[in-house]
Every structure is written in C-alpha cells, then in structure tokens.
Amino acid sequence: MNNLISHSYLILLLPLLSFIINGLFLCFRHRKMAAILSTSLSFLGAVFATIISVNFFISGAKPILAFNYEFLPFTGTLVATIGCLLDSLSAMMILTVSLISFAVHIYSIGYMESDQASGRFFALLSLFVFSMLGLVIAPNIFQTFIFWELVGVSSYLLIGFWYDRPSAVSASKQAFILTRFADSFFLLGIILLSYITKSFVFSDINALRLENFAGQMISLGIIEIPTSDALIFSTLLIFIGGWGKSAMFPLHIWLPNAMEGPTPVSSIIHSATMVVAGVYLVARLFPLFAISGNVLEIVMIVGAFTMVFAAVIACTQKDIKRILAYSTLSQLGYMMLALGSARVADSSIHILGYSAATFHIFTHAFFKCMLFLIAGALIHQVHSNDLNAMGGLRKKMPWTYAASLIACLAIAGIPPFSGFYSKDEILISAYQAGHPIIFACALFTSFLTAFYMFRLFFLAFHGKMRSIPKHPVHESLLMTLPILLLTIPTLFSGFLFKGIFHNFSPEVPLSLAKNLPSATFIPPLAITFSVLGILLSFLFYASKKSNPAKALDSDNRNAFYKIIYHKFYFDEIYYAFVRQFILGGLASFARFFEEKIFGTLVTFATTLIQKMGVLVRKAHAGSLPFYIAIMIIGLLFWYFASNLPLQGA
C-alpha cells in the first residue's frame, strides 16, 4: 500500500505525459499514434486509479498526504504546494474521473476518426483529465485554484476545438469568461481566507472556528467588518467560484452553449470533470461552509432553483445535447441542494446531505457520461443534433437503444439503477433536515426529469424515422463498447456503493442533527413521481395518438412555451449585458475617458506649447525698432521682476 501511495504522482504524470508527448510531437502528423498513446496511458491511469482507490477503501479510508512538493512559499506558514491528498472524497473522484476518461478516450477514437486534428484533440483531452485529477487530489486550496483554472482553460480549448466554427468559438469564449468571472471571486475568497487563516491547507481551513476570531476586525477597504464575518464572506466568495464552474443559475448559460464542442468533450465535461468541480469544492470545504452562517442555505437555494429551472427548460428543447445539458444543470442543482440542505435549521448538521451529494456525483457521472456518448452515437448516425431528424432509431442501433434505456431509467430514478439510490438520499436529506418546500421542488423535478428524459428517448428511438441519414452507419465497436461498459456502473454502482458513501463524513464542528423524522415514505413516493413522468412522456410522444412532429414544433405554441423554449431569454440577456454594459458601457466609457478627456488634455498641453512656440517665432520677425523696444522694455521688465532690492534700504 505504502509503495503504491508513494507512486501516487503517477495519477498526474500519466495524463500529463500524454498531453506533452501528444502536444509536442504527435499532434500534427501522427494522429493514430496520438490516439493510441493517450488511450493506453489513460487505460494505465484508470487501472492505477482503481488499484489505489480500492486499496484506499480496503485499508480503512484514512486520509493520507501522498506527496507535497513546495511550489511557492509566500509568507510564514502561507506556502503554496502541489501535493496529493488521498481521502474518501478524492479517492472516489480519482476513480470516477479516471474511469470516465478511459471510456471517453476509447469512444473518441471512433468518434474523431475522420477529424484531421484528432491529435490535438487527444492532447487537450489529456490536459483536461490532468487538470481535473490535479484538482481533486489537491491538499490545499491554492492547488485547487491552480488546477481549477487549468480545467477552465482546457475546457475552453476543447469547447472551441472546431475553431473555424464561429458558434463554437463564441461558446468557448463564453464558457471561459463566465467561469473566469466567477473565478475572480474565488481568487478573492482564497486571498481573504488565507489572509485570515494564514494557511491554504484544507485540514487547517476545515478546522476553523468562528469563535477563534471573536473581537477581531478586518478592513475590506470601504467598510470594516468583524473577522468572523469576513470569514463567512470569503466562504461565500469561494462558493461563487463553484457557482460559475457548476453553472448554477444565473451563470448557467455557458453550459448548454458549450455543446458546440465535440460530443466526447461534452460527455466528459458533464460527467466527471469541469462542472462537478463546483460541487466538489463545496464538499471539500464542507466544514467551512457548515460553520459559515447561512452560506449553506444560499447553496441550497441556488441549487434548488437551478434544478427546477433547468428541468423546465429541458422539457421543451429539441437539440438532444441541449436537453442533456439542461439535465446536467438540473442534476447539479440536486447535488448543490443536497449539500446545502445538510444544515438543519437549529444549526446542527444532517450529514446525509453531504454523503448524498457525493454519492450523486458518483452515480451521475456514469449515467450522464453514457447518455452523452449515446447522444454522440445518434448524432454520428443522423449528422444532426435535432430531434426532428431522429426517430425510430431503435432498429438501426439496438445496442445503443438498450443502453440508453438503462441510462434513462437511471437518471429518472427507477430502482435498481444507480440514480435511484443517490436521488433518493437527496430527497430524504432535504426532507429530514426540515426543508419541505425544497423537498417538494426536488420531488417535482424528479417527475420532470423522468418526463424529459423519456421524451428524448421516445422521440429519438421510437416512432418513424423523420429523416433518412445520408451516410447510414452501423454501430461502430469503438463507440458502442464504452457505452456498454458504462452500463455496468450505471446498473450496479447504486446499491453496491451506497454503504461506502454513508461512511463519508467530514469532521464538522457542529452537533449532528438528532430526532430526525422518519422518511420511509419517500422512496415509493419518488418512484411514483418518476413513473408518472415516464407515463406522461409515453402518452405525449410514443403512444399511437401522439404526433411527434407536432410535439417538436416550437413555432405554433403559446407564449409561455416559447419563453421556456427560448431558455427564458437568458442568452439574449447575457449578450445584451456584455455588449451594452461591458463593451458598450464600461469599455466605451473607459476609451472615451482615455481618448477624449485625457487625450484632449495631452493634446491641449502640446498644442499650447506649440502655440507658444509660434508666438515666440512670430516675435522674431525682423523688425529692428521692435527689437530695440523690446530690449528697453526688457530692462524695465527686469527692473520690476528681477527680485533685486532695487528700491534700496
């Protein structure tokens, strides 16, 4: 075991190696080589990650600091290090990320086969995986931030992978800028936090007590606030980082737009890397959040709102990837909600929320990855993202059909698939911690989830084919294999691992909630809602009477539907904000100030001197009497101006 741990740097090294070799040498010419190299390295990584995490859980799940290399010392105890912290949370994430990455790598070989730039794709994919792994193993918040940013930039590069498509370019830009916007608050939060605690290390941060700062004040420039409030404030700022990365409302718009990237990228973004980073961050700093007053409530409300909001939009979309994207948003909302609901009203902690959230990260990763891979396979088939172009594909793609049924059942929360277990716990947690409204929302959303997932399912696979594919293809082995492989965790990860996640409990300096109400009624209730959703969906889209073409028609609809269909016009609001307020307002004013006001001042000064120069030049016009007169006037002038004591004593 120790031997293994001492080699834990391999977790980072393998994808990094793949990135460097691919990026520098194989990228342009040997794309086959690149694919093989990075897939095999990712296979090694997956194997290694499995061994390490299995070992970790078997040997008692004690947190271990595997290595810690000093990166940059600041002052005193404030040292930035790059290290590897193995605990339950990170071991789980390492496993998830590595497995998903491996699956996506295999899938990409098939998916990117015809793309000339696939070498670059594999290089960037490795970078993405590297960044996410670095993020999850971080033992300190500074490292988290470093890899957090790397995740952001590699997602930027991957979303904009097809950089000659303007839509991809603008989507990647939007993703980067929005997350960067959130990250700037994150950085501020880190700096504020580290200023207060004099440490970046999670174990120090998570051991903080507000009482230790009683009576201290800290200046935030305009105002001076008690240090304990500043601590809470910094927690909030850090959460804003996660807010952006996990695409919570209203910073959510980049995520659906990010679908412009290649499908494997979407798949990995939505399942294991990028978006769960925000949830992971909150989970990682859970003790800090728990003591930080109402921040967890904010987390909960933001999560709950996003959950419902995204689910509603998902019900109307036609683009399958977008539907999946909104479903991700909704599921992320679940996770956030779970984390947030862990705080009971009397400021004790119901730890189930924490374990449910982490559990949901785990289960969601597999089935969401799978769903995206399926979507990719569909798109490959019909060369379109639009549900209008699909329908009746179950005959052409039987394996995919079967797999997607499993995935949809999993996400809809039907036992015994994995989604049921985690979602069930979230519902229980919300209920037990005393948030009935949130609980109701979650229940409703599980109904919506089932509805829109099966809407997708029925419209894509059932009914008649609405278009004839130009180049019909068979299910290729390389693309179907990972999908089928992923059905295994989708089927079993729920009931197998439930127990492990119940042991996930960070050391929270608050009392655990007692006297919880019984929640035995919840699982049947949740199943009922899901089944209702499926039935309704069947009724609308797959029964004999249904008319899929009309169901997909978005033009002849009432205003309410249209608003939802247009995603509540948030894209437009965003663009208007950026164009009118940032570019048109702030930046234009800045330029106006620079060029018109300040520039005019500079020009005025130079013109003034020029004019004076011309005046002097004109004075020397060659008139002799004038010269003599000036000499005499000069004498008089100096008589008065020379400061000599001429008037005498």
Partner: protein, 101 residues
Amino acid sequence: MTLLHCLILAFILFSIGIYGVLTNRHLIGMLISIEIMLNAANINFVAFAYFKAQDPTAGTLFSIFSIAITACEMAVALAILIAMYRKHHSLDVNNQEKNHE
C-alpha cells in the same frame, strides 16, 4: 551743481537717447541717438570722478576710452551703413524689414 544734478542730466540724456532710438526711422538718426546714450554714461563717469570717487583719474580715463571705443563702433557702423546704402539706396529702417520668422 551737485552730483545729483549731473546724474539727473545724464539720466535725461539717456532717456532722450532711448526715445530717439525708438522713434527715429532713419538709421543715422538712430546712431546719433545711441551716441547720446553713450555720452550720458560718459557724463556719469565724469561726474562721479569729480564729486565722489576715491580714484578720480579712473573715471576720467574711462570716459576718454569709452569715447574712443564708441568712435570705433560708429566707424564700423557707418561702414556697414554705406554698404547698405549702396544696395538699397535708402537708410530708412522700414525699408529693411523683411518678414523673417
């Protein structure tokens, strides 16, 4: 007659000279005015030498030298004036003015 009288006389002469230089438009006239200014200074020298100075010879000497030197200067000036006159056939100051800038 006291020192002050002489000094005032000299000052008046100097002022007349200045006035002449400023108002005359004829080059010779200007030269003459300048000569008046110079002579005002000479009067000062002589007056100081006579009334006040511990070293009276110096003042007298100075005025003699200055007369000689101004004579030189005027000689050169007149030579130049002649050269000028040959070119322009006029000694009016206003004729010389060209816009130089």
